[in-house]
Assembly symmetry: D3
Homo-oligomer: 287 residues x 6
């Protein structure tokens, strides 16, 4: 058991951050190991519930690649990726949607509710939350892979004002009523921008962004959107990090002051990022 | 094209019903052919949207047996029923939930939104909407088959006041966080009771309830909850109708003035039931 | 009795119009035969009540020439018209006001309340609803004939938000506190403009506007305010239609999207105009 | 011009009454000379406007016998009274309604609006404000003479909350939609009771109630409802005072703390009654 | 006892002023004899309570020089003034604050509450109401004498909307958390400007401003801010009147329509200024 | 610097308490060393600000004995205590009020505002917050020593809803307008009861209550109000603890679930009591 004085020290160090984010929205992109490891999973849920209870309005966005693959396997279907994107034919899209909206999303909602956070699970179809169009790809027809066009921020703000925590999966609705598979990082970036979030936090499976992704000693603490543009253009960023960087750029260009890539493998990294003086991961800000 | 005078006649006949149900909630249990036939499906969605636009607050409840079976088949799993109830082991429950919350529910939401109704899809896990416990069955352990304990009416009322149409699938949350497969008719009955609905309307694949279900000439126009109790107790009702009758009893004992079993195979039977002088199907009222 | 399917067809055809006019204001100028024939009268009241119940906000404006003449006759006074306008001396104005505000208005209010519409009768004096000044006429002094200057839209909006249907007679208040006899068509046009109505509908005793008012085959389905200006300037319009055309122009120049001249002799022409695909009468829109 | 000190003395003497009636409703029955004499009329309107501006909610109720008689005369009709009540056939009722709702009422509204009081004129038909039934009389059939059954207090409270001053004439609506001529004193008593007024003030043409109405030295300053019952039963009260006493009894039995019969011939008697220590007229309170 | 007619005359003369100031804020600088003489004191409290009850929102600002000096004397401290300003070392500031916020302020609050006005006493520290900086003086270091920088108008408006009367003493908070002694006239001027008052009224111990302060026959009835600037610059104003004139200028340049210097020695001069046609004292308006 | 993991551990341990006290009021009696030692003082202010930012509504109550004595000394007055109570003649009461309301209270307000807590300082006179009567003492006339009669909870709740932190000194108002010196512990107990607080926390200069106050090893962790009654009756409690125990009893009998006597000398003991599993001090609960 910790010394009482330690408790006090930590809580008081959190005070300026409590003040800063009171009543503000923080969009969290949930993914990677933090979605797989049972202990990490519970810790993220505790973190979100804590944000909720200290008067911050969290919005959780998630995808769910591994569970989709597992389900496809059970149905003897072969996942097919081109340029890092899942080729999504109608049969695949059906599975993507069922798994994300019917399984992953509801499991997160249940965990959050157990922490007392009044969570409501949503897909991009509910209240036309995420409108998308078909993505044109240089790699050929990717099927129902979509790009975000607009977010129904009114609906999210209404839920937040009523004290609910939205949990959103990366399934969008097309103008034609078709389901689209959209990148969850991108969704998080667009939502952060649409609701005027105070922060976008993306949980990853790395410490942050490396200047040279092959060299762990080159972790970047802080960068601008311009730096991010350059890293994407020059291929300096690891391919898996590109949509995450793009999401940060979308958010910041939409007026979000700060976006963070943090290590979801570290216990309670979300709380540490928000409530301590210790900067962790990589922070992106306006140029 | 109809004569203008016909338009006027119909609209004016609807006037007293518009007056009666203005601002009231009507719970609709959606199921059977109306969920399978593309034309009927669209017609129900138009009916719900119309209710929404004339100031009535519809809540849609659905299950989805055929789609669950189809999905199980794709996964080489064998549905197993005992006493009319699906034996729901963990693997089956996962499929039930995915199909209902991730596929059927979102498809209905999309159709309603295309009709302009601002629909929001929910499972019983969202905001702890439907709390259930494990059902004890004389037929042995049925696994994750549950019975409804309570409904979070506050959440539904909040959505209704904000102008959203809730679409709810029959998946419940247990006190332990487990998913439960609950009967959709029962869910509709409990919701009607919890939100103080003005009507419960259950769409079926028959004209209504028959005094003798083997004789189509014995259709019952109106009955009391007492009559319903007797029909259940004496086995006079067709087994498929029993949960529907039970839902009507739950609703009416919970204060809902009228419950209706109507023929979902008839085009726009919902509108006809609500807005015309022609009684259709079987109406259940308090003894 | 109509077939149930007919009911459904009509209601569903109305759906897009329900959606379009939900929460919007429609100003109806009530007059002519529809105010005299008992059956037509009741039908208009049903139509207004129906608009009220489907979430549309109707405002009714009326004059009442025949009843004024009848009352003058009882009092051995001779109506006197110059250039189509009633010469309104003090004695006549007293009768005009008594008949419109004390008899015609209250009779309409009673009929609407019997249809469940929560009607409130108003003259232009209540809450200074219609402010007018004396009309200068080339035909000499017309006495208390006035022209509308401004409308107290706040009061009408307040009543509408509280769920009341305003019924307004064409008596205005002058800056000096005198009563003024104003043209009811003009009042309707100004009110439609002031409250930001979605439609102005004027009930007449003809099918609509004719290009040549002596030739019934020249009915105009749709025209612009520019066309209307021309018809007034060239004398192509029947004199009785001129104030109605002017009201349409006032409304549309004030931002109302559409104004309609429809046949009040046709049963429920108001509902048919609003809720069916069948265009009736003459529609005026912006040039 | 008065000394400044006098101003101060008067205003300060008013302070405890301002405090006592702040936000409360005072129902004023307006009638007699105060409705005929131009100077008195204007003074009553100033008094009502002043009540409005110091945060009190006035409601004005009026009849209008002399103007009805004058109009009947113009139409060569003979007023006919039995037991002090106007025999009201259909032709008479039409005139009563026209005069009260269309002439007297609107004239009062205009005067109040000129004093800045945002007045709205109403008859008992508007929003079904005064519901009445036919009065059964020992003197035979009196035609459309009615007795008040209920008041729509919600509508009056809504107007008061929105800052409007209701001006109500004594025409009621029957359950059948017919107009009824009701006693204005009675209307005032019922309204005071229905809206929970803090006071009912009835303007009369006498100083107050006399113990012996033939002896002016027997003015009663204060009496109970029991005293009033006795005076009515024993015939001690002048016949013209009976409905006024009945109105006081209705109000006080309905929970209004005090009812007053004051001299409307005295300039600003309303203000003097409310804002000074000088008791004037006759005050009726609970036994 | 005054004649009833006098009461009526005074109340009716007040009517246009009641109308004009309804719902508006009037800032009153309380000081001088009116704060010392027991009778005058009670009269000012009655005046403020009356403003409160007629729907005006009063804000009272006060200093308290004589009480500070008396307390310093008790503590054997010598007041020290330079150029009319109290040299305020730390010990003096402690006494200033204690006396103003702990004694004078609470005594005023008590008197107002006894008149029914729901008063709340505040210093410039509460809710950071008055932010000040150290005053730079040509006369050398004056210690904790401050100049007003900003007013927290939101807090005052919130109290006013909730029906409370703020009573504010002239102690301010510095950015460093130190207490500052600020001129109460200046505070009143800044508050009037910040809350958008309809009037600033400063109670003085003279009749008003004299063109030549040695000649009582030169009382100024009305002047512009330009005139005031000239009088300050040319030394034509008595030194004690300079901060009062400056406060008037601050208020009027901040958008307050009128500022008044009135004689606090005259009974109820506040009511007389506001509610009568008799202009008293000196009125300052925009150039 | 602490390890990030430590931060996370502490914050997560706080989660259930954040949940439990969200939107609830906690009344803190501030006194003793925590009011004298500069470091402790600042820590209490941080604690209160933190409560404010995590959605808890703190109310601070304080007395100020040592500062009163110091001020009396400066004025050559001799404090005089009988039975532990300050004999409070008029001169002493003036000093008590000035020091508490004008010095101590404002100093606390300033410190809280520097921590961002929007504090508003109040005495029992503001909005008639604390109504008291003269205390009858067996020790003779104690002058202006009072006992709390009622609390104006509406005013405190209004401030809390608007986001302000009330800081209240132990000066009360008598029905006659006199100031009364009341025990600050008692005030805290009455306020906790009146506002329906979730907790009363009293900061003391001891670890808590000892079963035998001469033996530090007999610290009581938890006791009932019955135990407290016994300790007071039998003289087992140290005299200084009696009003604190009485305050706990008042609070708990008024419906407050828990009252705590904690050690104000321990850094951040308030946060530790509220947000950790470590019970500190003595907790009192219902018998």
């Amino acid at each position: 058991m910790l010394e009482p004085a330690i408790h006090a020290e930590v809580l008081i160090e959190a005070l300026p951050y409590l003040r800063q984010f009171y009543g503000k929205t923080i969009v969290v992109k949930y993914g990677g190991n933090a979605m797989v490891d049972e202990t990490l999973k519970m810790q993220v849920m505790q973190d979100i519930a804590l944000l909720h209870y200290v008067g911050i309005r969290p919005i959780l966005v998630h995808g769910g690649g591994p569970e989709i693959n597992a389900m496809m396997e059970k149905m003897n279907l072969q996942p097919n990726f081109v340029g890092g994107l899942r080729v999504t034919d109608a049969a695949t899209m059906e599975i993507v949607e069922m798994v994300l909206a019917g399984k992953t999303n509801k499991a997160i909602v249940t965990l959050l509710n157990q922490q007392g956070a009044k969570a409501v699970g949503l897909s991009g179809k509910d209240a036309n939350l995420i409108l998308a169009c078909k993505m044109e790809s240089p790699h050929g027809d990717l099927g129902f892979v979509g790009e975000v066009i607009t977010i129904n921020a009114d609906f999210l703000n209404m839920l937040a004002e009523q004290g609910y925590v939205p949990v959103i999966c990366s399934v969008a609705i097309g103008p034609d009523g078709a389901s689209y598979n959209v990148n969850a990082d991108h969704v998080a970036g667009h939502i952060a921008s649409a609701v005027g979030a105070a922060k976008l936090v993306i949980l990853t499976d790395v410490e942050g962004l490396y200047r040279d992704y092959k060299d762990k000693s080159t972790l970047i603490n802080e960068m601008t959107t311009q730096d991010a543009d350059v890293m994407i253009a020059t291929g300096a960023a690891d391919r898996g990090m590109i949509p995450k960087l793009e999401a940060c750029i979308t958010a910041i260009e939409g007026g979000v002051p700060r976006a963070h890539l943090i290590d979801g493998r570290q216990a309670h990294s979300l709380l540490i990022e928000i409530f301590t003086n210790t900067g962790i991961g990589t922070m992106v800000r306006s140029s």
